[in-house]
Symmetry: C2
């Protein structure tokens, strides 16, 4: 059986369900979380509770689960977890487990928005002007290189939590002064907001699948409405961009298109929350993963989907009795 | 057929599905929205697109739909819509339609958090100290009646959008200065956060059903995890509180419990987003509505559910082709 482990699955009920459909009869979907009431746990074939990723037992827990559940591949659904797992790539690979996350080096870049900006600039990949801190921003502001409004985000944020538009210097100073964590400051650009779900083959390291969508509605936590589109120019750019990184498996890239320019502004080296859209349109990454587990290289299927398909996310409900939990929900 | 109209259904896919289950064979679930890509539209038995609630054609649209779809009852799923519909209660009632929303007077109070505070204070219902504006707050602050941190919210907000904890006077002044809409300032209290789904019988005007849950996790937009509880003291308090208002049908009340005191801090005179929890535990408001449509008074079923049932919300996905929309998604 080609069992796969999805770590820190949280609220990804629909993704687990998609995996189960594609893996049916071929492998079990095993998931983890550190909270006993993460809804994705209850739709999986098997689930385990682990330590938190910042606790020293975390990797030990993961290795034990891999052993016990006969895991053949592993991927993470939570940003900071990716760096931790990437640090354990060698020990996982030595156990014959396919690691569907980037190299430690690439993971470190993706999770630090300022490092990412510097790397994109060096690599001549168009991106949004980003400043490390207030002093860095002020130097450029005084030279007339940037003006308000600006966009600020936590340096290692996820799902647009804490991101906001700032209109004045006074407001900017106050927010940065009171901030519990460091922020980056970005140029505010308006354009067409495009999201790309990409699969980088785990054997050939080539981009074999791309699904593009234009965002229609954004909520805290990600895109909640989008429409599938195709753009052959962007398909080629994405293949080039991915050549600069050591990705492996699912990646999510976010672009702002202004005229003929595509500004890459975020990279999540994992299944994005809105990957559900791609799957619903037949772009089946779990199937590509199954092929990779079996040692098969996936041929390119870039652009094999219908355009004009609109995804709409909505909240659904799962119920569990407190008596059926593996651990108290307050722990 | 006892058809019901749910207006501005938005993302309430799961609620529409619950209604369909309870109304099966007895009435159609008809829904509206002003946006052609509201996901709840596509699970209803019938759907209509309307004008926006602030457009002059809105009530005309609703009346036409009621005629065409042979509607017997109507309720709204969006806060500001409730006031608009409440203003049309007489014309709707004259057409034989059961109006499941409060009187115009009560609706006005529920949608203005400061008016609500004043009314609760006059009625001696314990609530959280609330200030109309900065000057009002400062007067109390200088008298030592309140201190930082405080909690601020848009005066007519919904689903905790824009609500935040503020730690200093400088921060408070800046936020209020830059705010696009008026805010109220509230005392910050820590306590057990309890949500009550209440059904006020549309014929007897008595509270006939209450479902209590303790919140476990809150996200922007509402409660995302909760556990069902019972509290006979609070059941009685809720019955008393509802006697001060002209509710009709579903109501959602939010309390902070500190020791033996229950502070009522928000009222939404409609189905709350987390009502799904109550339904999943067998607390079937659609069935109570069906009885009311048929002219039957519901007997009390307060507390008829199991405790320790944990609700977990998660995002799910619906797909529609742009060719199947009744109106362009950009309109």
């Amino acid at each position: 059986m080609q069992n796969i482990l999805l770590t820190n699955a949280g609220k990804r009920v629909a993704l687990v369900r998609d995996f189960k459909q594609s893996f049916k009869g071929q492998g079990k979907i095993v998931v983890t979380d550190n909270w006993s009431v993460a809804p994705a746990l209850f739709v999986a074939d098997e689930y385990y509770l682990t330590a938190r990723i910042d606790e020293k037992n975390y990797i030990k827990d993961i290795l034990e689960i891999c052993e016990q559940a006969e895991i053949k591949a592993i991927t993470s659904l939570m940003d900071p977890d990716i760096s931790v797992l990437a640090g354990a790539r060698e020990v996982l690979t030595n156990k014959g487990i396919l690691c569907l996350f980037p190299s430690e080096h690439t993971a470190g870049r993706c999770l630090d928005k300022y490092k990412m900006f510097q790397f994109l600039k060096e690599s001549r990949i168009p991106t949004i002007a980003t400043f490390f801190d207030y002093a860095d921003f002020m130097a450029a502001y005084q030279k007339g290189e940037i003006d308000f409004p600006v966009f600020i985000k936590p340096k290692s944020g996820s799902g647009s939590v804490g991101a906001q538009k700032v209109y004045t210097d006074a407001e900017l100073q106050l927010i940065l002064k009171n901030a519990a964590q460091p922020y980056i400051i970005q140029e505010f650009i308006e354009g067409m907001d495009i999201d790309a779900d990409v699969y980088v083959d785990a054997i050939s390291h080539q981009v074999v699948s791309i699904f593009l969508k234009e965002k229609i509605e954004r909520m805290i936590g990600g895109t909640s409405k989008a429409i599938s589109i195709k753009d052959t120019v962007l398909f080629e750019k994405i293949k080039q961009i991915c050549g600069h990184f050591e990705f492996c498996g699912p990646v999510d890239l976010e672009f702002l298109q202004v005229g003929s320019e595509y500004y890459l502004y975020d990279i999540n080296p994992r299944f994005s929350g809105a990957y559900l859209h791609a799957y619903a349109c037949g772009v089946d990454f779990p199937k590509l993963i199954l092929n990779n587990i079996r040692g098969k290289v996936n041929p390119s299927q870039v652009g094999e989907y219908e355009t004009g398909q609109i995804m709409m996310l909505y909240p659904d409900v799962a119920l569990v009795s407190k008596h059926d939990l593996k651990r108290d929900y307050r722990d």
